[in-house]
Symmetry: C2
Subunit: 264 residues, 2 copies
Protein backbone atom coordinates (compact mmCIF):
# COMPACT_ATOMS: atom_id res chain seq x y z
CA UNK A 1 0.00 0.00 0.00
CA UNK A 2 1.29 3.43 -0.95
CA UNK A 3 0.17 6.75 0.52
CA UNK A 4 -0.52 9.89 -1.49
CA UNK A 5 -1.17 13.56 -0.93
CA UNK A 6 -2.96 15.41 -3.76
CA UNK A 7 -3.67 19.11 -4.29
CA UNK A 8 -7.08 19.54 -5.90
CA UNK A 9 -8.85 22.44 -7.62
CA UNK A 10 -12.60 22.40 -8.14
CA UNK A 11 -15.54 24.49 -9.22
CA UNK A 12 -18.10 23.90 -6.47
CA UNK A 13 -21.10 25.11 -8.50
CA UNK A 14 -22.40 21.69 -9.50
CA UNK A 15 -21.41 19.79 -6.36
CA UNK A 16 -23.44 19.05 -3.22
CA UNK A 17 -20.21 19.81 -1.30
CA UNK A 18 -16.95 18.02 -0.71
CA UNK A 19 -18.05 15.22 1.55
CA UNK A 20 -19.53 11.97 0.23
CA UNK A 21 -23.32 11.77 0.37
CA UNK A 22 -25.58 9.00 -0.79
CA UNK A 23 -27.09 9.81 -4.19
CA UNK A 24 -25.47 13.24 -4.47
CA UNK A 25 -22.63 14.47 -6.69
CA UNK A 26 -19.76 15.31 -4.34
CA UNK A 27 -16.08 16.13 -4.87
CA UNK A 28 -15.07 13.20 -2.67
CA UNK A 29 -17.35 10.94 -4.70
CA UNK A 30 -15.89 11.83 -8.11
CA UNK A 31 -12.31 11.68 -6.79
CA UNK A 32 -12.84 8.22 -5.28
CA UNK A 33 -14.42 7.10 -8.54
CA UNK A 34 -11.44 8.37 -10.57
CA UNK A 35 -8.97 6.65 -8.23
CA UNK A 36 -11.04 3.46 -8.59
CA UNK A 37 -11.03 3.71 -12.39
CA UNK A 38 -7.28 4.23 -12.62
CA UNK A 39 -6.05 1.83 -9.90
CA UNK A 40 -8.84 -0.76 -9.91
CA UNK A 41 -9.23 -0.33 -6.17
CA UNK A 42 -11.83 1.04 -3.82
CA UNK A 43 -10.41 3.65 -1.50
CA UNK A 44 -11.66 6.32 0.87
CA UNK A 45 -10.02 9.74 0.65
CA UNK A 46 -9.67 12.31 3.44
CA UNK A 47 -9.99 16.03 2.67
CA UNK A 48 -8.40 18.90 4.61
CA UNK A 49 -11.54 21.03 4.46
CA UNK A 50 -15.09 19.79 4.09
CA UNK A 51 -16.37 22.58 1.88
CA UNK A 52 -20.14 23.12 1.51
CA UNK A 53 -22.22 22.94 -1.67
CA UNK A 54 -21.22 25.72 -4.08
CA UNK A 55 -17.88 26.43 -2.36
CA UNK A 56 -14.78 26.30 -4.59
CA UNK A 57 -11.20 25.21 -4.02
CA UNK A 58 -7.90 26.16 -5.60
CA UNK A 59 -5.80 24.18 -3.15
CA UNK A 60 -7.88 21.55 -1.36
CA UNK A 61 -5.64 18.74 -0.08
CA UNK A 62 -6.70 15.10 0.01
CA UNK A 63 -4.87 12.00 1.21
CA UNK A 64 -5.46 8.38 0.25
CA UNK A 65 -3.81 4.98 0.34
CA UNK A 66 -3.83 2.62 -2.59
CA UNK A 67 -1.77 -0.25 -4.02
CA UNK A 68 -0.72 0.89 -7.48
CA UNK A 69 2.31 0.89 -9.73
CA UNK A 70 1.52 4.32 -11.21
CA UNK A 71 4.53 6.57 -10.47
CA UNK A 72 3.60 9.58 -8.28
CA UNK A 73 4.58 12.02 -11.04
CA UNK A 74 2.15 10.34 -13.48
CA UNK A 75 -0.70 10.15 -10.97
CA UNK A 76 -2.12 13.67 -11.55
CA UNK A 77 -2.35 13.06 -15.31
CA UNK A 78 -3.89 9.62 -14.76
CA UNK A 79 -6.56 10.94 -12.38
CA UNK A 80 -7.35 14.02 -14.50
CA UNK A 81 -8.05 11.79 -17.48
CA UNK A 82 -10.76 10.10 -15.39
CA UNK A 83 -12.17 13.23 -13.73
CA UNK A 84 -14.95 15.56 -14.90
CA UNK A 85 -13.82 18.99 -16.05
CA UNK A 86 -14.89 20.76 -12.84
CA UNK A 87 -12.30 18.91 -10.74
CA UNK A 88 -8.56 19.03 -11.49
CA UNK A 89 -5.76 17.33 -9.62
CA UNK A 90 -2.92 19.87 -9.60
CA UNK A 91 -0.19 17.81 -7.99
CA UNK A 92 0.34 14.39 -6.40
CA UNK A 93 3.19 13.27 -4.17
CA UNK A 94 3.91 10.16 -2.15
CA UNK A 95 3.85 10.64 1.63
CA UNK A 96 4.43 8.71 4.86
CA UNK A 97 1.68 6.45 6.15
CA UNK A 98 1.19 8.90 9.03
CA UNK A 99 0.12 11.78 6.78
CA UNK A 100 -3.57 12.70 6.96
CA UNK A 101 -4.92 15.61 4.87
CA UNK A 102 -7.15 16.79 7.70
CA UNK A 103 -5.42 15.87 10.94
CA UNK A 104 -1.89 16.70 9.82
CA UNK A 105 -2.86 20.18 8.60
CA UNK A 106 -1.47 23.09 10.62
CA UNK A 107 -3.60 25.80 8.99
CA UNK A 108 -6.11 26.54 6.24
CA UNK A 109 -6.37 29.67 4.11
CA UNK A 110 -9.70 30.70 2.62
CA UNK A 111 -10.59 33.61 0.36
CA UNK A 112 -13.99 35.26 0.14
CA UNK A 113 -14.74 37.40 -2.91
CA UNK A 114 -17.36 40.17 -2.95
CA UNK A 115 -18.49 42.24 -5.92
CA UNK A 116 -19.70 45.68 -4.88
CA UNK A 117 -21.15 47.69 -7.77
CA UNK A 118 -24.53 48.77 -9.14
CA UNK A 119 -25.17 45.70 -11.30
CA UNK A 120 -24.34 42.01 -10.77
CA UNK A 121 -21.77 40.31 -12.99
CA UNK A 122 -22.75 37.78 -15.64
CA UNK A 123 -19.19 36.44 -15.78
CA UNK A 124 -18.49 36.28 -12.04
CA UNK A 125 -21.94 35.21 -10.88
CA UNK A 126 -20.73 31.76 -9.80
CA UNK A 127 -17.53 33.05 -8.17
CA UNK A 128 -18.43 35.91 -5.84
CA UNK A 129 -21.07 37.36 -3.57
CA UNK A 130 -22.78 40.47 -4.89
CA UNK A 131 -23.87 43.62 -3.09
CA UNK A 132 -25.23 46.76 -4.77
CA UNK A 133 -23.99 48.78 -1.76
CA UNK A 134 -20.61 50.47 -1.46
CA UNK A 135 -18.42 48.87 1.22
CA UNK A 136 -16.37 50.82 3.76
CA UNK A 137 -13.14 48.80 3.69
CA UNK A 138 -11.64 50.77 6.56
CA UNK A 139 -14.54 49.80 8.85
CA UNK A 140 -14.27 46.18 7.65
CA UNK A 141 -10.56 46.15 8.50
CA UNK A 142 -11.27 47.51 11.97
CA UNK A 143 -13.83 44.77 12.52
CA UNK A 144 -11.43 42.16 11.14
CA UNK A 145 -8.83 43.26 13.67
CA UNK A 146 -11.08 42.07 16.54
CA UNK A 147 -11.36 38.62 14.97
CA UNK A 148 -7.64 37.92 14.92
CA UNK A 149 -6.14 35.73 17.64
CA UNK A 150 -7.02 32.62 19.61
CA UNK A 151 -10.63 33.07 20.66
CA UNK A 152 -13.95 31.34 21.13
CA UNK A 153 -15.75 31.55 17.76
CA UNK A 154 -18.99 29.84 18.88
CA UNK A 155 -21.02 32.89 17.75
CA UNK A 156 -19.75 32.38 14.19
CA UNK A 157 -20.42 28.65 13.93
CA UNK A 158 -23.35 26.60 12.70
CA UNK A 159 -24.32 23.19 14.09
CA UNK A 160 -22.30 23.05 17.29
CA UNK A 161 -21.89 19.78 19.11
CA UNK A 162 -21.16 19.76 22.85
CA UNK A 163 -17.97 17.76 22.64
CA UNK A 164 -15.88 19.98 20.43
CA UNK A 165 -14.03 23.09 21.45
CA UNK A 166 -15.14 26.27 19.73
CA UNK A 167 -11.78 27.99 20.16
CA UNK A 168 -9.90 28.66 16.96
CA UNK A 169 -6.74 30.62 16.21
CA UNK A 170 -7.18 33.16 13.40
CA UNK A 171 -3.64 34.18 12.45
CA UNK A 172 -4.51 36.47 9.55
CA UNK A 173 -7.55 38.30 8.22
CA UNK A 174 -6.95 40.74 5.38
CA UNK A 175 -9.41 42.87 3.43
CA UNK A 176 -8.24 44.13 0.04
CA UNK A 177 -10.18 46.08 -2.56
CA UNK A 178 -9.47 46.58 -6.24
CA UNK A 179 -11.94 48.16 -8.63
CA UNK A 180 -15.30 46.73 -7.58
CA UNK A 181 -13.92 43.52 -6.09
CA UNK A 182 -13.23 43.04 -2.40
CA UNK A 183 -11.15 40.08 -1.33
CA UNK A 184 -11.20 38.78 2.25
CA UNK A 185 -8.36 36.39 3.02
CA UNK A 186 -8.42 34.46 6.27
CA UNK A 187 -6.03 31.96 7.81
CA UNK A 188 -6.63 29.89 10.94
CA UNK A 189 -5.41 26.63 12.44
CA UNK A 190 -8.89 25.28 11.70
CA UNK A 191 -12.41 26.60 11.15
CA UNK A 192 -15.73 25.77 12.73
CA UNK A 193 -18.57 24.76 10.41
CA UNK A 194 -19.92 27.88 8.63
CA UNK A 195 -17.31 30.11 10.28
CA UNK A 196 -15.76 31.76 7.20
CA UNK A 197 -19.11 32.55 5.61
CA UNK A 198 -20.51 33.95 8.88
CA UNK A 199 -17.43 36.15 9.28
CA UNK A 200 -17.85 37.29 5.65
CA UNK A 201 -21.56 38.00 6.16
CA UNK A 202 -20.84 39.97 9.34
CA UNK A 203 -18.01 41.97 7.74
CA UNK A 204 -20.26 42.81 4.76
CA UNK A 205 -22.80 44.24 7.23
CA UNK A 206 -20.00 46.29 8.80
CA UNK A 207 -18.99 47.45 5.32
CA UNK A 208 -22.49 48.65 4.44
CA UNK A 209 -22.76 50.49 7.79
CA UNK A 210 -25.47 48.24 9.20
CA UNK A 211 -23.13 47.34 12.07
CA UNK A 212 -20.14 49.06 13.60
CA UNK A 213 -16.75 47.36 14.07
CA UNK A 214 -16.99 47.69 17.86
CA UNK A 215 -19.83 45.15 17.96
CA UNK A 216 -17.45 42.31 17.11
CA UNK A 217 -16.04 41.78 20.64
CA UNK A 218 -19.59 41.65 22.04
CA UNK A 219 -20.65 39.14 19.39
CA UNK A 220 -17.64 36.94 20.21
CA UNK A 221 -18.37 37.11 23.92
CA UNK A 222 -22.05 36.28 23.47
CA UNK A 223 -21.24 32.87 21.92
CA UNK A 224 -24.66 33.32 20.30
CA UNK A 225 -24.91 32.60 16.54
CA UNK A 226 -27.94 34.91 16.27
CA UNK A 227 -25.80 37.91 17.25
CA UNK A 228 -23.48 37.54 14.25
CA UNK A 229 -24.45 38.47 10.67
CA UNK A 230 -26.00 36.19 8.07
CA UNK A 231 -24.03 33.51 6.29
CA UNK A 232 -22.58 34.98 3.08
CA UNK A 233 -23.43 32.88 -0.01
CA UNK A 234 -21.27 29.83 -0.83
CA UNK A 235 -20.17 30.90 -4.32
CA UNK A 236 -17.91 33.65 -2.93
CA UNK A 237 -15.82 31.17 -0.91
CA UNK A 238 -12.58 29.50 -2.04
CA UNK A 239 -10.32 27.11 -0.11
CA UNK A 240 -7.00 28.57 -1.24
CA UNK A 241 -4.36 26.54 0.51
CA UNK A 242 -3.66 24.14 3.35
CA UNK A 243 -0.43 24.28 5.30
CA UNK A 244 1.28 21.33 6.95
CA UNK A 245 3.78 21.48 9.78
CA UNK A 246 6.34 19.54 7.80
CA UNK A 247 6.13 21.87 4.81
CA UNK A 248 6.88 24.95 6.87
CA UNK A 249 10.27 23.51 7.74
CA UNK A 250 10.90 22.86 4.03
CA UNK A 251 13.45 24.84 2.05
CA UNK A 252 11.01 27.61 1.21
CA UNK A 253 9.95 28.39 4.73
CA UNK A 254 13.09 27.42 6.53
CA UNK A 255 14.47 30.88 7.15
CA UNK A 256 11.04 32.11 8.25
CA UNK A 257 10.69 29.23 10.72
CA UNK A 258 14.19 29.75 12.00
CA UNK A 259 13.71 33.45 12.59
CA UNK A 260 10.46 32.76 14.44
CA UNK A 261 12.14 30.13 16.57
CA UNK A 262 14.97 32.50 17.47
CA UNK A 263 12.47 35.17 18.50
CA UNK A 264 10.65 32.93 20.97
CA UNK B 1 -39.24 56.99 -30.25
CA UNK B 2 -36.17 57.24 -28.02
CA UNK B 3 -32.69 55.89 -28.79
CA UNK B 4 -30.50 54.05 -26.32
CA UNK B 5 -26.93 52.82 -26.02
CA UNK B 6 -26.32 49.99 -23.54
CA UNK B 7 -23.11 48.40 -22.26
CA UNK B 8 -23.61 44.68 -21.80
CA UNK B 9 -21.64 41.93 -20.02
CA UNK B 10 -22.28 38.28 -20.78
CA UNK B 11 -21.01 34.79 -20.18
CA UNK B 12 -20.96 33.27 -23.67
CA UNK B 13 -20.83 29.64 -22.46
CA UNK B 14 -24.51 28.86 -22.93
CA UNK B 15 -25.15 31.04 -25.98
CA UNK B 16 -25.04 30.16 -29.67
CA UNK B 17 -23.34 33.55 -30.15
CA UNK B 18 -24.45 37.16 -30.11
CA UNK B 19 -26.47 37.31 -33.31
CA UNK B 20 -30.12 36.25 -33.49
CA UNK B 21 -30.68 32.76 -34.90
CA UNK B 22 -33.92 30.92 -35.35
CA UNK B 23 -34.44 28.39 -32.57
CA UNK B 24 -31.13 29.12 -30.83
CA UNK B 25 -30.39 30.92 -27.55
CA UNK B 26 -28.49 34.07 -28.51
CA UNK B 27 -27.50 37.22 -26.61
CA UNK B 28 -29.41 39.38 -29.08
CA UNK B 29 -32.46 37.16 -28.60
CA UNK B 30 -32.56 37.39 -24.80
CA UNK B 31 -31.87 41.15 -24.87
CA UNK B 32 -34.69 41.79 -27.36
CA UNK B 33 -36.98 39.63 -25.24
CA UNK B 34 -36.12 41.62 -22.09
CA UNK B 35 -36.69 44.95 -23.87
CA UNK B 36 -40.02 43.59 -25.11
CA UNK B 37 -41.05 42.49 -21.60
CA UNK B 38 -40.22 45.84 -20.03
CA UNK B 39 -41.43 48.22 -22.75
CA UNK B 40 -44.17 46.15 -24.38
CA UNK B 41 -42.59 46.71 -27.77
CA UNK B 42 -40.83 44.63 -30.36
CA UNK B 43 -37.44 46.05 -31.27
CA UNK B 44 -34.31 44.99 -33.07
CA UNK B 45 -30.99 45.74 -31.40
CA UNK B 46 -27.63 46.31 -33.08
CA UNK B 47 -24.44 45.02 -31.46
CA UNK B 48 -20.93 46.44 -31.90
CA UNK B 49 -19.32 43.02 -32.21
CA UNK B 50 -21.01 39.83 -33.37
CA UNK B 51 -19.27 37.44 -31.01
CA UNK B 52 -19.32 33.69 -31.76
CA UNK B 53 -20.76 30.91 -29.62
CA UNK B 54 -18.83 30.61 -26.34
CA UNK B 55 -17.21 34.06 -26.61
CA UNK B 56 -17.71 36.39 -23.63
CA UNK B 57 -18.14 40.14 -23.28
CA UNK B 58 -17.39 42.59 -20.52
CA UNK B 59 -18.21 45.66 -22.58
CA UNK B 60 -20.34 44.75 -25.61
CA UNK B 61 -22.30 47.79 -26.82
CA UNK B 62 -25.80 47.57 -28.24
CA UNK B 63 -28.11 50.27 -29.60
CA UNK B 64 -31.89 50.20 -29.93
CA UNK B 65 -34.86 52.48 -30.42
CA UNK B 66 -38.06 52.16 -28.43
CA UNK B 67 -40.98 54.31 -27.27
CA UNK B 68 -40.94 54.10 -23.47
CA UNK B 69 -41.33 56.34 -20.46
CA UNK B 70 -38.68 54.46 -18.43
CA UNK B 71 -35.97 57.01 -17.50
CA UNK B 72 -32.54 56.11 -18.93
CA UNK B 73 -31.05 55.80 -15.45
CA UNK B 74 -33.69 53.18 -14.50
CA UNK B 75 -33.37 51.23 -17.73
CA UNK B 76 -30.42 49.00 -16.69
CA UNK B 77 -32.25 47.90 -13.54
CA UNK B 78 -35.47 47.31 -15.49
CA UNK B 79 -33.75 45.17 -18.13
CA UNK B 80 -31.64 43.22 -15.62
CA UNK B 81 -34.80 42.20 -13.77
CA UNK B 82 -36.00 40.59 -17.02
CA UNK B 83 -32.67 39.06 -18.11
CA UNK B 84 -31.18 35.64 -17.32
CA UNK B 85 -28.21 35.67 -14.96
CA UNK B 86 -25.62 35.17 -17.72
CA UNK B 87 -26.38 38.58 -19.29
CA UNK B 88 -26.08 41.85 -17.35
CA UNK B 89 -26.75 45.35 -18.62
CA UNK B 90 -24.04 47.49 -17.02
CA UNK B 91 -25.15 50.93 -18.15
CA UNK B 92 -27.77 52.57 -20.37
CA UNK B 93 -27.79 56.09 -21.78
CA UNK B 94 -29.97 57.97 -24.23
CA UNK B 95 -28.27 58.85 -27.52
CA UNK B 96 -28.96 60.67 -30.78
CA UNK B 97 -30.96 58.92 -33.48
CA UNK B 98 -27.77 58.75 -35.56
CA UNK B 99 -25.93 56.52 -33.07
CA UNK B 100 -25.42 52.91 -34.17
CA UNK B 101 -23.54 50.47 -31.91
CA UNK B 102 -21.76 48.91 -34.88
CA UNK B 103 -21.36 51.61 -37.51
CA UNK B 104 -20.55 54.45 -35.10
CA UNK B 105 -17.79 52.47 -33.36
CA UNK B 106 -14.25 53.72 -33.94
CA UNK B 107 -12.49 50.71 -32.41
CA UNK B 108 -12.97 47.44 -30.55
CA UNK B 109 -10.76 45.97 -27.83
CA UNK B 110 -10.66 42.22 -27.29
CA UNK B 111 -8.77 40.15 -24.72
CA UNK B 112 -7.68 36.55 -25.18
CA UNK B 113 -6.74 34.56 -22.08
CA UNK B 114 -4.45 31.51 -22.13
CA UNK B 115 -3.60 29.21 -19.23
CA UNK B 116 -0.18 27.65 -19.64
CA UNK B 117 0.62 25.06 -16.95
CA UNK B 118 0.78 21.30 -16.50
CA UNK B 119 -2.88 20.75 -15.59
CA UNK B 120 -6.07 22.44 -16.83
CA UNK B 121 -8.10 24.59 -14.44
CA UNK B 122 -11.46 23.47 -13.07
CA UNK B 123 -12.35 27.05 -12.14
CA UNK B 124 -11.20 28.77 -15.34
CA UNK B 125 -12.21 26.07 -17.83
CA UNK B 126 -14.96 28.25 -19.35
CA UNK B 127 -12.84 31.42 -19.43
CA UNK B 128 -9.51 30.62 -21.03
CA UNK B 129 -7.72 28.46 -23.55
CA UNK B 130 -5.41 25.83 -22.06
CA UNK B 131 -2.00 24.65 -23.18
CA UNK B 132 0.25 22.27 -21.24
CA UNK B 133 3.26 23.82 -22.99
CA UNK B 134 5.32 26.73 -21.72
CA UNK B 135 4.95 29.84 -23.87
CA UNK B 136 7.84 32.05 -24.95
CA UNK B 137 6.30 35.48 -24.39
CA UNK B 138 9.25 37.26 -25.98
CA UNK B 139 8.75 35.39 -29.23
CA UNK B 140 4.99 36.05 -29.07
CA UNK B 141 5.66 39.78 -28.62
CA UNK B 142 7.99 39.78 -31.64
CA UNK B 143 5.30 38.10 -33.73
CA UNK B 144 2.68 40.52 -32.39
CA UNK B 145 4.83 43.41 -33.55
CA UNK B 146 4.39 42.34 -37.20
CA UNK B 147 0.61 42.36 -36.82
CA UNK B 148 0.38 46.01 -35.75
CA UNK B 149 -0.63 48.62 -38.34
CA UNK B 150 -3.00 48.99 -41.26
CA UNK B 151 -2.65 45.79 -43.26
CA UNK B 152 -4.49 43.16 -45.25
CA UNK B 153 -5.60 40.50 -42.72
CA UNK B 154 -7.22 38.13 -45.26
CA UNK B 155 -4.94 35.27 -44.07
CA UNK B 156 -6.44 35.60 -40.58
CA UNK B 157 -10.12 35.69 -41.59
CA UNK B 158 -12.78 33.02 -41.99
CA UNK B 159 -15.62 33.21 -44.50
CA UNK B 160 -14.50 36.03 -46.77
CA UNK B 161 -16.91 37.61 -49.18
CA UNK B 162 -15.66 39.31 -52.34
CA UNK B 163 -17.24 42.68 -51.65
CA UNK B 164 -15.62 43.55 -48.36
CA UNK B 165 -12.16 44.90 -47.83
CA UNK B 166 -9.86 42.73 -45.76
CA UNK B 167 -7.72 45.64 -44.58
CA UNK B 168 -7.91 46.37 -40.88
CA UNK B 169 -5.95 48.74 -38.64
CA UNK B 170 -4.54 47.01 -35.54
CA UNK B 171 -3.49 49.87 -33.26
CA UNK B 172 -2.39 47.78 -30.28
CA UNK B 173 -1.45 44.17 -29.56
CA UNK B 174 -0.01 43.43 -26.14
CA UNK B 175 1.07 40.15 -24.56
CA UNK B 176 1.28 40.05 -20.79
CA UNK B 177 2.05 37.12 -18.52
CA UNK B 178 1.39 36.67 -14.82
CA UNK B 179 1.81 33.36 -13.03
CA UNK B 180 0.42 30.80 -15.46
CA UNK B 181 -1.95 33.17 -17.26
CA UNK B 182 -1.11 34.94 -20.50
CA UNK B 183 -3.30 37.81 -21.61
CA UNK B 184 -3.36 39.00 -25.21
CA UNK B 185 -5.03 42.39 -25.63
CA UNK B 186 -5.79 43.62 -29.14
CA UNK B 187 -7.35 46.82 -30.44
CA UNK B 188 -8.34 47.55 -34.04
CA UNK B 189 -10.78 49.79 -35.88
CA UNK B 190 -12.69 46.59 -36.72
CA UNK B 191 -12.02 42.87 -37.01
CA UNK B 192 -12.67 40.35 -39.76
CA UNK B 193 -14.69 37.27 -38.87
CA UNK B 194 -12.50 34.86 -36.83
CA UNK B 195 -9.57 37.28 -36.86
CA UNK B 196 -8.86 37.56 -33.11
CA UNK B 197 -9.01 33.80 -32.56
CA UNK B 198 -6.79 33.10 -35.58
CA UNK B 199 -4.25 35.64 -34.33
CA UNK B 200 -4.41 34.01 -30.86
CA UNK B 201 -3.99 30.53 -32.34
CA UNK B 202 -1.04 31.65 -34.44
CA UNK B 203 0.65 33.44 -31.52
CA UNK B 204 0.21 30.34 -29.33
CA UNK B 205 2.08 28.34 -32.00
CA UNK B 206 4.82 30.96 -31.95
CA UNK B 207 4.88 30.72 -28.13
CA UNK B 208 5.33 26.95 -28.16
CA UNK B 209 8.11 27.22 -30.77
CA UNK B 210 6.15 25.53 -33.56
CA UNK B 211 6.51 28.72 -35.64
CA UNK B 212 8.97 31.58 -35.57
CA UNK B 213 7.92 35.25 -35.36
CA UNK B 214 9.44 35.97 -38.77
CA UNK B 215 6.75 33.88 -40.49
CA UNK B 216 4.08 36.49 -39.73
CA UNK B 217 4.89 38.87 -42.61
CA UNK B 218 4.82 35.95 -45.07
CA UNK B 219 1.47 34.77 -43.71
CA UNK B 220 0.02 38.27 -44.07
CA UNK B 221 1.32 38.58 -47.62
CA UNK B 222 -0.02 35.17 -48.64
CA UNK B 223 -3.67 36.22 -47.90
CA UNK B 224 -4.14 32.46 -47.43
CA UNK B 225 -6.05 31.34 -44.31
CA UNK B 226 -4.33 27.94 -44.43
CA UNK B 227 -0.95 29.60 -43.80
CA UNK B 228 -2.01 31.02 -40.42
CA UNK B 229 -2.41 28.95 -37.25
CA UNK B 230 -5.58 27.23 -36.02
CA UNK B 231 -8.44 29.18 -34.51
CA UNK B 232 -7.95 29.35 -30.72
CA UNK B 233 -11.03 28.14 -28.78
CA UNK B 234 -13.91 30.60 -28.17
CA UNK B 235 -13.93 30.43 -24.36
CA UNK B 236 -10.64 32.38 -24.13
CA UNK B 237 -12.06 35.40 -25.95
CA UNK B 238 -13.62 38.49 -24.34
CA UNK B 239 -14.98 41.62 -26.01
CA UNK B 240 -13.61 44.13 -23.50
CA UNK B 241 -14.63 47.52 -24.77
CA UNK B 242 -15.88 49.44 -27.79
CA UNK B 243 -14.75 52.99 -28.45
CA UNK B 244 -16.79 55.66 -30.21
CA UNK B 245 -15.45 58.73 -31.94
CA UNK B 246 -17.45 61.04 -29.71
CA UNK B 247 -16.11 59.45 -26.53
CA UNK B 248 -12.51 59.99 -27.52
CA UNK B 249 -13.06 63.74 -27.59
CA UNK B 250 -14.57 63.52 -24.09
CA UNK B 251 -12.81 64.96 -21.07
CA UNK B 252 -10.77 61.84 -20.47
CA UNK B 253 -9.21 61.61 -23.90
CA UNK B 254 -9.19 65.27 -24.78
CA UNK B 255 -5.49 65.92 -24.26
CA UNK B 256 -4.61 62.72 -26.11
CA UNK B 257 -6.79 63.69 -29.07
CA UNK B 258 -5.39 67.19 -29.08
CA UNK B 259 -1.80 66.04 -29.07
CA UNK B 260 -2.53 63.65 -31.95
CA UNK B 261 -4.23 66.38 -33.92
CA UNK B 262 -1.26 68.70 -33.40
CA UNK B 263 1.11 66.01 -34.63
CA UNK B 264 -0.72 65.49 -37.92
Amino acid sequence: MRHFKAIVEYDGTDFAGFQWQHGARTVQGVLEEAIGLRTGQTTRIAGAGRTDAGVHALGQVVSFSVATRIPAERMALALNSALPRDVTVRHVEEVDAGFHARFSASSRIYAYLILSRRTPSALLRRYCAFTPFALDLQAMRQAAHYLIGEQDFAAFANELTDEQTTWRDVSRLQIRGRHHLILMRIEANAFLRGMVRTIAGTLIEVGTGKRCPEEIPEILQSRDRRRAGPSAPPQGLFLLRVRYGARRIGARHHSEELSRWLQR
